[in-house]
Protein backbone atom coordinates (compact mmCIF):
# COMPACT_ATOMS: atom_id res chain seq x y z
CA UNK A 1 0.00 0.00 0.00
CA UNK A 2 1.22 3.48 -0.87
CA UNK A 3 1.31 6.13 1.83
CA UNK A 4 -1.79 8.21 0.97
CA UNK A 5 -0.17 11.39 2.24
CA UNK A 6 3.00 11.08 0.18
CA UNK A 7 2.17 10.61 -3.48
CA UNK A 8 4.71 9.87 -6.17
CA UNK A 9 4.16 12.44 -8.89
CA UNK A 10 6.89 11.55 -11.37
CA UNK A 11 7.09 8.60 -13.75
CA UNK A 12 7.93 5.21 -12.35
CA UNK A 13 10.21 4.01 -15.13
CA UNK A 14 9.31 1.56 -17.90
CA UNK A 15 5.89 3.13 -18.58
CA UNK A 16 5.43 2.59 -22.31
CA UNK A 17 6.06 -1.15 -22.22
CA UNK A 18 3.84 -1.43 -19.20
CA UNK A 19 0.99 0.47 -20.80
CA UNK A 20 1.17 -1.38 -24.12
CA UNK A 21 0.20 1.68 -26.14
CA UNK A 22 -0.46 -0.21 -29.39
CA UNK A 23 -3.14 -2.44 -27.87
CA UNK A 24 -4.75 0.50 -26.09
CA UNK A 25 -4.67 2.55 -29.28
CA UNK A 26 -6.35 -0.20 -31.34
CA UNK A 27 -9.06 -0.42 -28.69
CA UNK A 28 -9.40 3.40 -28.71
CA UNK A 29 -9.83 3.42 -32.52
CA UNK A 30 -12.59 0.81 -32.33
CA UNK A 31 -14.36 2.43 -29.42
CA UNK A 32 -14.44 5.94 -30.90
CA UNK A 33 -14.63 4.96 -34.58
CA UNK A 34 -11.36 6.67 -35.52
CA UNK A 35 -9.88 6.34 -39.02
CA UNK A 36 -6.75 8.15 -40.18
CA UNK A 37 -5.66 9.39 -43.60
CA UNK A 38 -2.70 7.03 -43.98
CA UNK A 39 -0.18 4.97 -42.03
CA UNK A 40 1.95 8.05 -41.31
CA UNK A 41 -0.98 9.90 -39.76
CA UNK A 42 -1.90 6.82 -37.72
CA UNK A 43 1.67 6.47 -36.45
CA UNK A 44 1.69 10.13 -35.43
CA UNK A 45 -1.67 9.82 -33.67
CA UNK A 46 -0.43 6.74 -31.86
CA UNK A 47 2.58 8.67 -30.57
CA UNK A 48 0.23 11.42 -29.35
CA UNK A 49 -1.99 8.75 -27.79
CA UNK A 50 1.00 7.21 -25.97
CA UNK A 51 1.97 10.64 -24.64
CA UNK A 52 -1.61 11.13 -23.45
CA UNK A 53 -1.55 7.77 -21.66
CA UNK A 54 1.49 8.99 -19.75
CA UNK A 55 -0.29 12.27 -19.11
CA UNK A 56 -3.43 10.47 -17.85
CA UNK A 57 -1.23 8.46 -15.52
CA UNK A 58 0.37 11.68 -14.25
CA UNK A 59 -3.08 13.23 -13.80
CA UNK A 60 -4.17 10.13 -11.86
CA UNK A 61 -1.30 10.61 -9.44
CA UNK A 62 -1.98 14.32 -9.05
CA UNK A 63 -5.75 13.86 -8.86
CA UNK A 64 -6.34 10.60 -6.98
CA UNK A 65 -10.02 11.20 -6.12
CA UNK A 66 -11.00 11.18 -9.81
CA UNK A 67 -10.45 8.55 -12.48
CA UNK A 68 -8.27 9.56 -15.43
CA UNK A 69 -7.59 7.53 -18.55
CA UNK A 70 -8.48 7.14 -22.22
CA UNK A 71 -11.14 9.56 -23.45
CA UNK A 72 -12.35 10.58 -26.90
CA UNK A 73 -9.66 13.28 -26.83
CA UNK A 74 -6.76 10.87 -26.31
CA UNK A 75 -5.37 11.25 -29.85
CA UNK A 76 -5.12 15.05 -29.60
CA UNK A 77 -2.16 17.06 -28.40
CA UNK A 78 -2.95 19.53 -25.58
CA UNK A 79 -2.67 22.34 -28.17
CA UNK A 80 -5.16 20.69 -30.55
CA UNK A 81 -7.49 19.99 -27.64
CA UNK A 82 -7.32 23.62 -26.53
CA UNK A 83 -7.89 24.99 -30.05
CA UNK A 84 -10.80 22.72 -30.92
CA UNK A 85 -12.70 22.09 -27.70
CA UNK A 86 -12.16 25.02 -25.36
CA UNK A 87 -12.80 28.61 -26.47
CA UNK A 88 -13.20 30.89 -23.49
CA UNK A 89 -11.92 34.29 -24.48
CA UNK A 90 -9.55 35.69 -21.87
CA UNK A 91 -11.66 37.92 -19.62
CA UNK A 92 -10.55 41.46 -18.94
CA UNK A 93 -9.02 42.07 -15.53
CA UNK A 94 -11.97 44.28 -14.61
CA UNK A 95 -14.37 41.39 -15.03
CA UNK A 96 -12.36 39.28 -12.58
CA UNK A 97 -11.57 41.75 -9.84
CA UNK A 98 -15.03 43.26 -9.47
CA UNK A 99 -16.06 46.88 -9.65
CA UNK A 100 -17.97 46.21 -12.82
CA UNK A 101 -21.59 47.28 -13.33
CA UNK A 102 -23.14 43.83 -12.98
CA UNK A 103 -21.68 42.84 -9.63
CA UNK A 104 -24.19 40.66 -7.71
CA UNK A 105 -25.50 41.81 -4.30
CA UNK A 106 -24.39 39.70 -1.32
CA UNK A 107 -27.02 37.13 -0.37
CA UNK A 108 -27.68 35.84 3.16
CA UNK A 109 -26.34 32.29 3.56
CA UNK A 110 -27.48 31.32 7.05
CA UNK A 111 -30.68 29.35 7.35
Amino acid sequence: EEDPLIEQVVGGGDELGELDAEAHFASFERRFGRTYRDAGERAYRMSVFAANLRRARRHQRLDPTATHGVTKFSDLTPGEFRDRFLGLRRPSLEGLVGGEPHEAPILPTDG
Partner: protein, 233 residues
Protein backbone atom coordinates in the same frame (compact mmCIF):
# COMPACT_ATOMS: atom_id res chain seq x y z
CA UNK B 1 -28.18 26.67 2.45
CA UNK B 2 -29.04 23.02 1.83
CA UNK B 3 -26.16 20.53 2.20
CA UNK B 4 -26.82 19.10 -1.25
CA UNK B 5 -28.52 20.72 -4.19
CA UNK B 6 -28.97 19.67 -7.81
CA UNK B 7 -30.99 21.57 -10.40
CA UNK B 8 -31.16 18.44 -12.57
CA UNK B 9 -33.54 16.89 -10.05
CA UNK B 10 -35.78 19.94 -10.29
CA UNK B 11 -36.12 19.95 -14.08
CA UNK B 12 -34.10 23.10 -14.78
CA UNK B 13 -31.35 21.45 -16.80
CA UNK B 14 -31.68 20.34 -20.42
CA UNK B 15 -29.94 17.39 -22.10
CA UNK B 16 -26.16 17.27 -22.40
CA UNK B 17 -25.08 18.78 -25.72
CA UNK B 18 -21.95 18.41 -27.86
CA UNK B 19 -20.12 21.47 -29.15
CA UNK B 20 -18.11 19.33 -31.59
CA UNK B 21 -14.81 20.60 -32.92
CA UNK B 22 -15.64 24.28 -32.32
CA UNK B 23 -14.52 26.64 -29.56
CA UNK B 24 -18.09 27.57 -28.68
CA UNK B 25 -18.16 26.42 -25.04
CA UNK B 26 -19.05 29.97 -24.00
CA UNK B 27 -22.35 29.81 -25.92
CA UNK B 28 -23.31 26.50 -24.26
CA UNK B 29 -22.56 27.92 -20.83
CA UNK B 30 -24.68 30.98 -21.66
CA UNK B 31 -27.62 29.02 -23.10
CA UNK B 32 -27.56 26.60 -20.14
CA UNK B 33 -27.77 29.46 -17.64
CA UNK B 34 -30.65 31.05 -19.55
CA UNK B 35 -32.45 27.69 -19.89
CA UNK B 36 -32.36 27.45 -16.08
CA UNK B 37 -33.41 31.06 -15.53
CA UNK B 38 -36.25 30.68 -18.05
CA UNK B 39 -37.38 27.56 -16.19
CA UNK B 40 -37.46 29.49 -12.93
CA UNK B 41 -39.41 32.32 -14.54
CA UNK B 42 -41.93 30.22 -16.45
CA UNK B 43 -41.88 26.70 -15.03
CA UNK B 44 -41.06 25.40 -18.51
CA UNK B 45 -37.78 23.96 -19.71
CA UNK B 46 -37.02 25.30 -23.18
CA UNK B 47 -33.89 23.99 -24.91
CA UNK B 48 -32.21 27.09 -26.34
CA UNK B 49 -30.01 27.80 -29.37
CA UNK B 50 -26.23 28.14 -29.18
CA UNK B 51 -25.94 28.57 -32.94
CA UNK B 52 -27.68 31.94 -32.75
CA UNK B 53 -24.83 33.20 -30.55
CA UNK B 54 -22.15 31.48 -32.66
CA UNK B 55 -23.51 33.17 -35.81
CA UNK B 56 -24.82 36.50 -34.55
CA UNK B 57 -23.09 37.50 -31.30
CA UNK B 58 -20.05 39.70 -31.98
CA UNK B 59 -20.42 41.69 -28.78
CA UNK B 60 -17.17 43.19 -27.47
CA UNK B 61 -15.87 43.67 -23.95
CA UNK B 62 -16.84 47.11 -22.63
CA UNK B 63 -13.30 47.74 -21.44
CA UNK B 64 -11.47 46.09 -24.33
CA UNK B 65 -12.98 46.77 -27.74
CA UNK B 66 -10.80 44.21 -29.51
CA UNK B 67 -12.01 41.37 -27.28
CA UNK B 68 -15.24 40.22 -28.90
CA UNK B 69 -17.38 37.07 -29.02
CA UNK B 70 -16.38 35.23 -32.13
CA UNK B 71 -18.19 31.96 -32.83
CA UNK B 72 -15.89 28.92 -32.87
CA UNK B 73 -12.91 31.16 -32.08
CA UNK B 74 -14.13 31.83 -28.57
CA UNK B 75 -16.23 34.16 -26.49
CA UNK B 76 -17.26 35.11 -23.00
CA UNK B 77 -20.52 34.41 -21.19
CA UNK B 78 -20.94 37.92 -19.76
CA UNK B 79 -20.58 39.57 -23.17
CA UNK B 80 -23.01 36.97 -24.54
CA UNK B 81 -25.54 38.03 -21.87
CA UNK B 82 -25.05 41.64 -23.01
CA UNK B 83 -25.70 40.55 -26.60
CA UNK B 84 -28.88 38.75 -25.52
CA UNK B 85 -30.14 41.83 -23.68
CA UNK B 86 -29.53 43.96 -26.78
CA UNK B 87 -30.82 41.51 -29.39
CA UNK B 88 -33.95 40.58 -27.47
CA UNK B 89 -33.24 36.98 -26.52
CA UNK B 90 -32.65 33.46 -27.75
CA UNK B 91 -34.52 31.26 -30.19
CA UNK B 92 -35.05 27.60 -29.41
CA UNK B 93 -32.56 24.89 -30.38
CA UNK B 94 -35.26 23.43 -32.63
CA UNK B 95 -35.71 26.69 -34.56
CA UNK B 96 -32.02 27.51 -34.81
CA UNK B 97 -30.14 24.17 -34.53
CA UNK B 98 -26.47 23.76 -33.74
CA UNK B 99 -24.15 23.34 -36.74
CA UNK B 100 -20.72 23.31 -35.08
CA UNK B 101 -19.33 26.01 -37.38
CA UNK B 102 -19.96 29.71 -37.87
CA UNK B 103 -22.53 30.59 -40.52
CA UNK B 104 -24.28 33.79 -41.54
CA UNK B 105 -26.68 35.09 -38.93
CA UNK B 106 -30.27 33.91 -39.40
CA UNK B 107 -31.72 35.34 -36.21
CA UNK B 108 -35.49 35.83 -36.36
CA UNK B 109 -36.71 38.13 -33.60
CA UNK B 110 -40.25 36.83 -33.93
CA UNK B 111 -39.08 33.38 -32.82
CA UNK B 112 -37.48 34.41 -29.50
CA UNK B 113 -38.48 32.05 -26.69
CA UNK B 114 -36.32 33.26 -23.77
CA UNK B 115 -35.29 36.78 -22.79
CA UNK B 116 -32.65 38.05 -20.38
CA UNK B 117 -33.91 40.44 -17.70
CA UNK B 118 -30.55 40.98 -16.01
CA UNK B 119 -27.26 39.29 -15.25
CA UNK B 120 -24.71 39.55 -12.44
CA UNK B 121 -21.12 38.62 -11.73
CA UNK B 122 -20.76 36.79 -8.40
CA UNK B 123 -17.87 37.38 -6.02
CA UNK B 124 -15.16 34.75 -5.48
CA UNK B 125 -16.84 33.22 -2.43
CA UNK B 126 -18.16 29.66 -2.32
CA UNK B 127 -21.09 30.47 -0.02
CA UNK B 128 -22.19 33.27 -2.31
CA UNK B 129 -21.85 31.01 -5.34
CA UNK B 130 -23.99 28.34 -3.64
CA UNK B 131 -26.58 30.92 -2.52
CA UNK B 132 -26.83 32.39 -6.03
CA UNK B 133 -27.09 28.90 -7.52
CA UNK B 134 -30.01 28.03 -5.24
CA UNK B 135 -31.73 31.38 -5.76
CA UNK B 136 -31.18 32.06 -9.46
CA UNK B 137 -30.66 28.63 -11.05
CA UNK B 138 -27.65 27.14 -12.88
CA UNK B 139 -24.70 29.52 -13.15
CA UNK B 140 -22.37 30.21 -16.08
CA UNK B 141 -18.81 29.60 -14.89
CA UNK B 142 -15.30 29.34 -16.28
CA UNK B 143 -12.65 26.79 -15.40
CA UNK B 144 -9.14 25.66 -16.23
CA UNK B 145 -9.76 22.51 -18.28
CA UNK B 146 -6.26 20.98 -18.06
CA UNK B 147 -7.47 17.86 -16.21
CA UNK B 148 -10.65 17.51 -18.24
CA UNK B 149 -8.97 16.03 -21.33
CA UNK B 150 -8.26 12.80 -19.42
CA UNK B 151 -11.18 12.87 -16.93
CA UNK B 152 -13.42 9.80 -16.75
CA UNK B 153 -15.26 10.19 -13.45
CA UNK B 154 -15.17 10.81 -9.72
CA UNK B 155 -14.50 14.02 -7.82
CA UNK B 156 -11.59 15.84 -9.41
CA UNK B 157 -9.37 17.53 -6.85
CA UNK B 158 -5.88 17.89 -8.28
CA UNK B 159 -3.04 18.74 -5.89
CA UNK B 160 -1.81 21.25 -8.48
CA UNK B 161 -4.06 22.99 -11.03
CA UNK B 162 -3.58 26.26 -12.87
CA UNK B 163 -6.17 29.01 -12.49
CA UNK B 164 -5.87 30.29 -16.03
CA UNK B 165 -9.47 30.13 -17.28
CA UNK B 166 -9.95 28.56 -20.71
CA UNK B 167 -13.33 26.78 -20.74
CA UNK B 168 -16.93 27.85 -20.21
CA UNK B 169 -19.27 25.40 -18.45
CA UNK B 170 -22.44 25.36 -16.35
CA UNK B 171 -22.64 24.93 -12.58
CA UNK B 172 -25.85 22.96 -11.84
CA UNK B 173 -25.45 21.83 -8.25
CA UNK B 174 -23.27 20.75 -5.38
CA UNK B 175 -22.86 17.79 -3.04
CA UNK B 176 -21.60 17.61 0.49
CA UNK B 177 -19.81 14.28 0.32
CA UNK B 178 -18.17 12.67 -2.66
CA UNK B 179 -16.24 9.49 -1.98
CA UNK B 180 -12.51 10.14 -1.60
CA UNK B 181 -10.73 6.98 -0.36
CA UNK B 182 -7.18 8.31 -0.75
CA UNK B 183 -7.68 11.22 1.61
CA UNK B 184 -9.80 9.20 4.09
CA UNK B 185 -12.54 11.78 4.14
CA UNK B 186 -15.63 12.75 2.26
CA UNK B 187 -15.09 15.68 -0.04
CA UNK B 188 -17.73 18.26 -0.97
CA UNK B 189 -17.94 19.03 -4.69
CA UNK B 190 -19.53 21.13 -7.42
CA UNK B 191 -21.58 19.45 -10.18
CA UNK B 192 -20.71 20.86 -13.59
CA UNK B 193 -22.47 20.33 -16.91
CA UNK B 194 -20.08 20.23 -19.85
CA UNK B 195 -20.74 20.43 -23.60
CA UNK B 196 -18.65 17.54 -24.91
CA UNK B 197 -21.47 15.02 -25.26
CA UNK B 198 -22.70 12.26 -22.98
CA UNK B 199 -19.78 9.99 -23.81
CA UNK B 200 -17.37 12.20 -21.89
CA UNK B 201 -16.98 12.26 -18.07
CA UNK B 202 -19.91 11.16 -15.92
CA UNK B 203 -22.55 11.14 -18.68
CA UNK B 204 -21.37 14.57 -19.76
CA UNK B 205 -20.87 15.93 -16.24
CA UNK B 206 -17.77 16.79 -14.20
CA UNK B 207 -17.36 16.95 -10.44
CA UNK B 208 -14.73 19.15 -8.84
CA UNK B 209 -13.99 19.56 -5.14
CA UNK B 210 -14.95 22.64 -3.16
CA UNK B 211 -14.85 23.60 0.51
CA UNK B 212 -12.56 25.43 2.92
CA UNK B 213 -9.45 23.43 1.96
CA UNK B 214 -10.11 23.37 -1.79
CA UNK B 215 -11.29 26.87 -2.62
CA UNK B 216 -11.17 27.99 -6.24
CA UNK B 217 -9.69 24.71 -7.46
CA UNK B 218 -8.72 25.11 -11.15
CA UNK B 219 -10.14 28.66 -10.97
CA UNK B 220 -13.71 27.35 -10.65
CA UNK B 221 -14.86 30.15 -8.30
CA UNK B 222 -13.24 33.05 -10.13
CA UNK B 223 -15.64 33.81 -12.99
CA UNK B 224 -19.22 33.02 -12.05
CA UNK B 225 -22.29 34.75 -13.42
CA UNK B 226 -26.01 34.39 -12.91
CA UNK B 227 -28.82 35.46 -15.18
CA UNK B 228 -32.50 36.15 -14.66
CA UNK B 229 -35.10 35.72 -17.38
CA UNK B 230 -38.17 37.72 -18.30
CA UNK B 231 -41.41 35.87 -17.70
CA UNK B 232 -42.83 35.30 -21.18
CA UNK B 233 -46.08 33.53 -22.03
Amino acid sequence: LPDDFDWRERGAVGPVKDQGSCGSCWSFSTSGALEGAHFLATGKLEVLSEQQMVDCDHECDASESRACDSGCNGGLMTTAFSYLMKSGGLQSEKDYPYAGRENTCKFDKSKIVAQVKNFSVISVNEDQIAANLVKHGPLAIAINAAYMQTYIGGVSCPFICGRHLDHGVLLVGYGSAGYAPIRFKEKPYWIIKNSWGENWGEKGYYKICRGPHDKNKCGVDSMVSSVTAIHTS
